[in-house]
């Protein structure tokens, strides 16, 4: 048998903290063959990125390689002198990173940044180098490469930047490509393009690829083999088929079960209790023991050895018995919407335009039409999902509804009262009916206030509960409702994990007993298992309190699981809306269809053909004429270029703004 391209044996990496070194990666071993994609899967903090950086020997300043071996095509890397390592980096193996926006040097042109790899490793300069660069840019799918060579990173869109990163990585013609979350920062339609590109390049060149990801869907789309990491250790390694059909480690199974999907609607998602242990408090035995439903005294005290299951499928777990089906939830019927229920929130033709000022006198020369005529309605106790990619204006809609941003036009009616232009004094009274949960649980809680003060803030400001003692009692009830211990009152936000912080934020919003809660991507910053906890919480709160959610998201899985109705937004306008069933099962608008097809599904089957969208979302400062979507639309017609399509009704609830449907 040939030796594999990359062989990692018992690699241990740590980070210096004071006088000690905390192990972030504790003895992992795996191999990547030529022409093979090996995915390293895990949630944040499991050590997967450190592994990638350790293989490249590019750990941050505090990072230490503690032990083990990394062999690239039979050559040991960890003992190489730094000078020799440099001729390996970029030439034999190359790396692309998560954030294309910051990973490129902002003051050098694309050509300069690719060119230095060619000069360093291929000894190409001048015209041959230029020709090679053009070829590389064409290979990574960049149109007009001549022009792009002289451009700076800020002139490129996010997907284009990642393509340039890939071109830089390919310039040295590496045998191994390490991709560290290459699509996490990108929109789903762009993610589909980049994943396709990576798969194509890999097959063409027969490269080995080490893919670092947290997304089961991405794994399903590109990986040949998968390694699951948990708390610095590999816990399961399996070929793709075995991984998706028969995952064996309890952690792997829990990851699958925590995914929100339409099949789990109506039921609660399986969650993993507790949190990943911190680096300085690693359990002695199996590291998953504290959170595992199959935990035994043996696994608490002893780290389980590898157990071979079938060819190439191995797992580190003592438990050999059968596994209970994790999510036996059938599709429960959602409570039917009473037709005569008046909407509690009614948005008509909402517009938010930001002026663009230019010239000597800073005159307004145009407007960024962040939101350009959005209409929505939300009934009590229901969930409306507002879906769209980054920059489509969905967050602005949420803030404009709360009057945190002054709308330029349109109406926002809450319980029949018009909020736009309402005097501040009366608006104050309306605020208790309408609240918001923000995206980033780390930015949405004031680090200087105690949890109790944070939750009580709204009650005090709106006078919902008067008196200190009553307020303290109310805070205690709220903490219990969102599943936090009572002693959290006196602690500070930084003592809590991301999921717990989001619970605090939800408690803060609920404190004033709102009827409508605007949730702005409340789970996008969280790991899958934590996301499941928050979704369960939101769902149970809706059932017990009857709150209506306007759920702003880019994640279709969440929509499928949670939403009653869906509105799809593109460039400041809603292109399709209707009940979740109708829109998700039979999407009409080409954009909705493309969006749905681009979502990577975390299973073997159902990887339908992706509807390719060219390019990326244009700037809302200068939207295309006619239908905003026409430059990217696969079904574009002549009329689309000049006329914005009127909405047409389909089925019971579905309306679509597209010329295809007349």
């Amino acid at each position: 048998m040939n030796s594999p391209l990359l062989r990692v044996t018992d690699l241990r990496l740590g980070f210096a903290a004071g006088r000690q070194t905390l192990l972030a990666v504790d003895g992992i071993s795996f191999e990547v063959g030529a022409g093979e994609t090996f995915a390293l899967l895990g949630e944040s903090g499991c050590g997967k990125s450190a592994t990638a950086q350790g293989i490249m020997r590019l750990l941050p300043a505090a990072g230490r390689i503690v032990g083990g071996s990394v062999e690239l095509a039979g050559r040991e890397l960890l003992s190489l002198p730094e000078a020799d390592m440099r001729s390996v980096r970029g030439a034999r193996m190359a790396m692309i990173f998560q954030e294309p926006a910051t990973s490129l040097n902002p003051v050098l042109t694309v050509g300069q940044q690719i060119g230095e790899v060619l000069a360093r490793h291929r000894h190409l300069t001048g015209e041959p180098a230029r020709q090679r660069m053009l070829e590389l840019l064409r290979q990574v799918g960049i149109a007009d490469p001549d022009r792009r060579l002289t451009e700076y990173p800020f002139q490129l869109s996010g997907g284009m930047k990642q393509r340039v990163m890939i071109a830089i990585a390919l310039a040295g013609e590496p045998d191994l490509l390490i991709a560290d979350e290459p699509t996490t920062a990108l929109d789903v339609t762009v993610q589909a393009q980049i994943l396709d590109l990576l798969v194509r390049l890999q097959t063409e060149r027969g490269m080995g690829m080490l893919l670092i990801t947290h997304d089961l869907g991405v794994v399903a789309r590109v990986a040949h083999r998968v390694g699951v990491m948990y708390a610095g250790e590999l816990v399961e390694v399996a070929p793709r088929e075995a991984f998706f059909t028969n995952p064996r480690h309890p952690y792997t199974r829990a990851l699958f079960a925590a995914l929100p999907e339409v099949s789990r609607r109506g039921g609660a998602l399986t969650t993993i209790p507790g949190q990943v242990p911190s680096l300085d408090h690693m359990p002695a035995g199996c590291r998953f023991a504290d959170r595992c439903r199959y935990v035994t005294p043996l696994s608490r005290d002893h780290s389980p050895p590898w157990r071979m299951l079938s060819d190439g499928h191995k797992v580190r777990c003592f438990y050999e018995g059968g596994m209970a089906e994790e999510a036996p939830h059938g599709e429960t019927v959602l409570p039917p919407l009473a037709a005569d229920t008046a909407p509690i929130l009614d948005v008509r033709d909402l517009k938010v335009h930001f002026p663009i000022r230019r010239g000597i006198l800073q005159r307004t020369v145009g407007h960024v039409k962040a939101v350009d005529g959005v209409s929505l309605s939300l009934s009590p106790g229901r969930t409306l999902a507002l879906v769209g990619e980054s920059g489509c204006g969905k967050t602005t809609v949420g803030k404009a509804i709360l009057q945190l941003i002054q709308p330029t036009g349109g109406q926002v009616k809450l319980n029949g009262s018009e909020l736009v232009g309402m005097p501040a004094g009366r608006l104050q009274g309306m605020r208790r009916h309408l609240q918001m949960v923000f995206q980033d649980p780390f930015a949405s809680l004031n680090p200087r206030l105690r949890v109790g003060e944070i939750i009580a803030e709204g009650m005090a400001a709106l006078g919902v509960v008067a008196g200190g003692r009553e307020r303290a009692a109310a805070v205690a009830i709220l903490l219990e409702q969102v599943g936090l211990p009572a002693e959290a009152v006196g602690r500070y936000p930084h003592e809590f994990s991301g999921g717990q912080r989001q619970r605090i934020a939800i408690a803060r919003a609920l404190a004033v007993q709102p009827e409508v809660l605007v949730c702005d991507e409340p789970t996008s910053a969280l790991d899958v298992s934590v996301q499941a906890q928050i979704l369960n919480l939101l769902k149970s709160l809706q059932e017990s309190l009857g709150v209506a959610y306007l759920f702003i998201t880019h994640n279709f899985a969440v929509v499928e699981y949670l939403a009653h109705e869906v509105a799809v937004m593109y460039l400041g306008r809603i292109v399709e809306r209707g009940s979740a069933d109708e829109v998700l099962r039979s999407p009409k608008h080409p954009y909705t269809r493309a969006l749905l097809s681009a979502v990577p599904q975390p299973r073997l089957e159902g990887q339908g053909p992706v509807i390719k969208l060219g390019g990326e979302t244009p700037s809302p400062a200068n939207p295309p004429a006619g239908c905003h979507f026409h430059p990217r639309c696969p079904n574009v017609m002549e009329v689309c270029r000049s006329v914005w399509p009127a909405s047409t009704q389909h089925g019971a609830t579905q309306t679509v703004a597209c010329h295809l449907y007349k």
Partner: protein
């Protein structure tokens, strides 16, 4: 880009008017010309006539803002404000206590000031950036640690000490260069060496530390990691990738002072007897020559504002994100 510069220039006008009003208030409203006269004349010679004469000689005997006796536009122009403050906009600074024309004096003294300040500035920048880059290159080593310690110690020493110590050691003990003075033409270099060297050394501590912090901030950025992942040697990473980016924040503090180099260095010039604007200012302050101080305040502000505009321009040269927008 051009529109941007024009806008900045227009914005400078209200700022200059503000500076002008502020100095006017400080020099003529806080204390009346009578107060100044009393102070200048000394207690013994104060008589109402002497005060009147003193004021008349200097044109301070007019009303401050509004001359109701003067005909027509004279009501506005025949005032202290118009004479002493507004006319500074056209370069008319009036006369000093010794009767010389201030504008003329300033013209003659700019070059000696620049002769000290320019080499000081360029050399200082060069030395500190190299030093800071070296420290950042050897970050987290003993060299870096002791380098920073040296910087902190150097910035804790009074600038007066560098001057006095330098003069004592180099000029008095070793007798290498003259202790102070200034020469004509190329001969001046003998007088310039010491002030320049002392100026550079006294500035090393704080600037090096600042630049090192800026460099270290850049070292942690993602694009540096990308550059390393390309297999580039660390020297290339530093000189090609890091320095270009770090230059942008460094420019903020550096370019703005370039026009002010004309103003000279107060202490240095006074100690080394260089007939520049710095020593001119100091002499005026010591002699309480209000007209000169007022003029220097105004010129200083003008130069600073020019520096701000230059900073903006230099940004756009260094940063393609601004240049191409």
């Amino acid at each position: 880009m051009l529109a941007y510069i024009v806008r900045r220039l227009l914005y400078a006008i209200p700022i200059l008017i503000g500076v002008n009003l502020l100095t006017f208030a400080l020099f003529f409203v806080v204390n009346t010309p009578d107060d100044m006269a009393r102070m200048q004349l000394g207690v013994k010679r104060v008589t109402p006539e002497a005060i009147q004469k003193w004021k008349a000689e200097r044109g301070y005997d007019k009303p401050l803002l509004w001359n109701s006796q003067a005909p027509g536009a004279g009501a506005l122009t025949d005032t202290i404000f118009f004479d002493k403050s507004a006319r500074m906009f056209v370069g008319d600074f009036g006369r000093a206590e010794d009767g010389r024309d201030i504008a003329l004096e300033i013209k003659g003294r700019m070059l000696p000031s620049l002769a000290v300040q320019l080499p000081n500035f360029i050399l200082g920048l060069f030395v500190t950036i190299i030093f800071a880059l070296t420290l950042a290159f050897f970050r987290a080593t003993a060299f870096d640690f002791w380098g920073v310690v040296l910087c902190v110690v150097m910035m804790s020493i009074s600038s007066l000490f560098y001057i006095i110590g330098g003069q004592y050691l180099v000029s008095k003990v070793w007798r290498l260069v003259p202790i102070s003075g200034f020469g004509e033409g190329l001969d001046a270099w003998r007088f310039l060496v010491l002030p320049v060297v002392v100026g550079v050394i006294s500035g090393i501590g704080s600037s090096t530390r600042l630049y090192r912090t800026i460099f270290l901030e850049e070292v942690g950025k993602d694009y540096i990691r990308t550059a390393r992942a390309k297999g580039l040697p660390e020297t290339v990473v530093f000189l090609r990738h890091l320095l270009r980016n770090a230059l942008i924040p460094i420019l903020t503090g550096v370019v703005v002072v370039i026009p002010s180099l004309f103003m000279g260095a107060l202490i240095t010039e006074s100690f080394f007897g260089i007939p520049g604007l710095g020593s001119y200012t100091i002499d005026a302050i010591k002699a309480q020559d209000f007209a000169v101080v007022r003029s220097m305040v105004f010129i200083g502000a003008v130069l600073y504002i020019i520096g701000l505009i230059l900073t903006d321009i230099s940004y756009s040269i260094a940063d393609p994100r601004i240049r191409l927008k």
